[in-house]
């Protein structure tokens, strides 16, 4: 494992203000490059503040969230936006811009943050789509795509562009069961490249398939994020 710290929470407290249903209370951990963190979510809990806090989209009441060694709060807006461009994320819900086609949605962040040629971005996305079992990138609005395909298209977006951190919020929700191995393979490959991965799920069976080699395990309960059995927390 690399020593480079990708993400760290330092005594982060974030009350569950709307729109969040579950906050954070004094959470501390650090996640290095190539590490995998599993977060089991208690059934019925949704709208967690955790992923948004990791991306610096919401400021904690106390403590700090560091990404690649910098506190989100101390970054100027341009820099924070650029840094978020190096985070891949599968959203719990509402993961699409409705007036862009799915393929435009998938390539949006790459076209915005990089000067890579259009063809190269599309070729990478198409290869990932094939890996996840999509025949091609859907060139229609998200509203007319099957939910299962939309979920896999979200995986494509999350892994495109070699992100440094990948946040997966219930990524298998609405996806067909036979798609899981391809996602697990993609996670392994991303870790091999040095990406840190956080997999959040409410189904323990899925988490058990995902990461026997997970670096740390947490559990999201009504009272916040707490270490889960088998935790190897460090930092």
């Amino acid at each position: 494992m690399s020593d480079e710290v990708i993400l760290s929470f330092e005594s982060v407290t974030l009350p569950p203000h709307p729109p969040y249903e579950a906050g954070l209370a004094g959470v501390s951990f650090s996640l290095n490059a190539a590490e995998l963190m599993l977060v089991r979510v208690e059934q019925g809990l949704s709208r967690l503040a955790f992923a948004d806090a990791a991306q610096g989209l919401v400021e904690p009441d106390s403590g700090r969230v560091m990404f690649l060694g910098e506190d989100w709060r101390s970054m100027p807006p341009n820099r924070a936006a650029e840094r978020r461009g190096s985070i891949g994320r599968v959203f719990e819900a509402n993961g699409w811009i409705s007036n862009l086609d799915v393929d435009e949605n998938i390539t949006l962040a790459q076209r915005h943050h990089t000067s890579r040629p259009e063809g190269e971005i599309v070729a990478e996305a198409s290869a990932l789509a094939a890996q996840f079992g999509l025949a091609e990138l859907p060139r229609v609005r998200p509203a007319v795509v099957r939910h299962a395909d939309l979920r896999r298209a979200e995986w494509v977006r999350a892994f495109a562009g070699s992100p440094r951190l990948i946040l997966l919020e219930n990524p298998t929700k609405e996806a067909s069961g036979n798609a899981l191995p391809s996602l697990v393979t993609a996670v392994k490959a991303a870790r091999g490249r040095g990406a840190a991965v956080i997999w959040i799920a409410d189904d323990e069976r899925i988490l058990s398939k995902v990461g026997p080699d997970a670096t740390c395990r947490f559990e999201f309960r009504g009272d916040g994020l707490v270490p889960w059995e088998g935790n190897t927390q460090h930092g």
Partner: protein, 262 residues
Amino acid sequence: MGWLSKIGVWALGKLRGPAYVAAVIWAVLRAAVDRQTWPRTVLNVLARQVLFTGIEATRFILLLAFMVGILIVVQTQVWLSKVGQTGLLGPVLVMVVVREVGPLLVNFVVIGRSGTAMATELGNMKISGEVRLLDALGLDPFVYLVVPRVLGAAISIFCLTVIFIVGAFVSGYFSGLLLGANVGQPGLFTMSVFRAVQPADVFNLLAKTFIPGLVTGAICCTEGLGVSTAVTEVPQATSRALVRSVGALFVISALVSLLTYM
């Protein structure tokens, strides 16, 4: 609280809205001259905005221009013939179309057609979490949503006004011919029109197109993004954007006219 302080509080309250819009426009203009603001995605949104607000409205603007040309020629022909000055048709067209009617009508069309669409689209995006999604993808919503829309509206209004003016002159010339006005040869008519245009008219045209365009864009974007939780807020925001944009248009047009011709 004394009556003087009540007036002060009332006046400050009334100024808060315009001050906020002015701050947004200032931020847009500052962002517009920063090269970092213009990755291909934002340029794409700007192009789409100009396509929707400008190019797709061209046919309707031309139709309006032809109608306005005919209406003005009919009126001026009646009045100028009474004083034996039908040769003044060109300058009168400049006075009415370039200075007042052209910019005002085009702004109206853009507010009704694109301003309301902008407020509705952004309001729906906000409610459905798409603005937050952009933020999560590292796309600053101000840069991706507001800057190209505000600039696109201003550019489109200027271009549409120029098209409107040309259309109204062409229509005015031919209706003048049909009505027997002393419009002369096309070349002479064109020259009389150009001679009637003063430098102040150019300033007036720029001010009455770009400023209301920026203001309309800023009002519609801020109203749209100002919704918070319920879908029912969207039509209310759209309606507010429409009323405020029209109000701002009249105030700006009146101020520019006063500053230009007083």
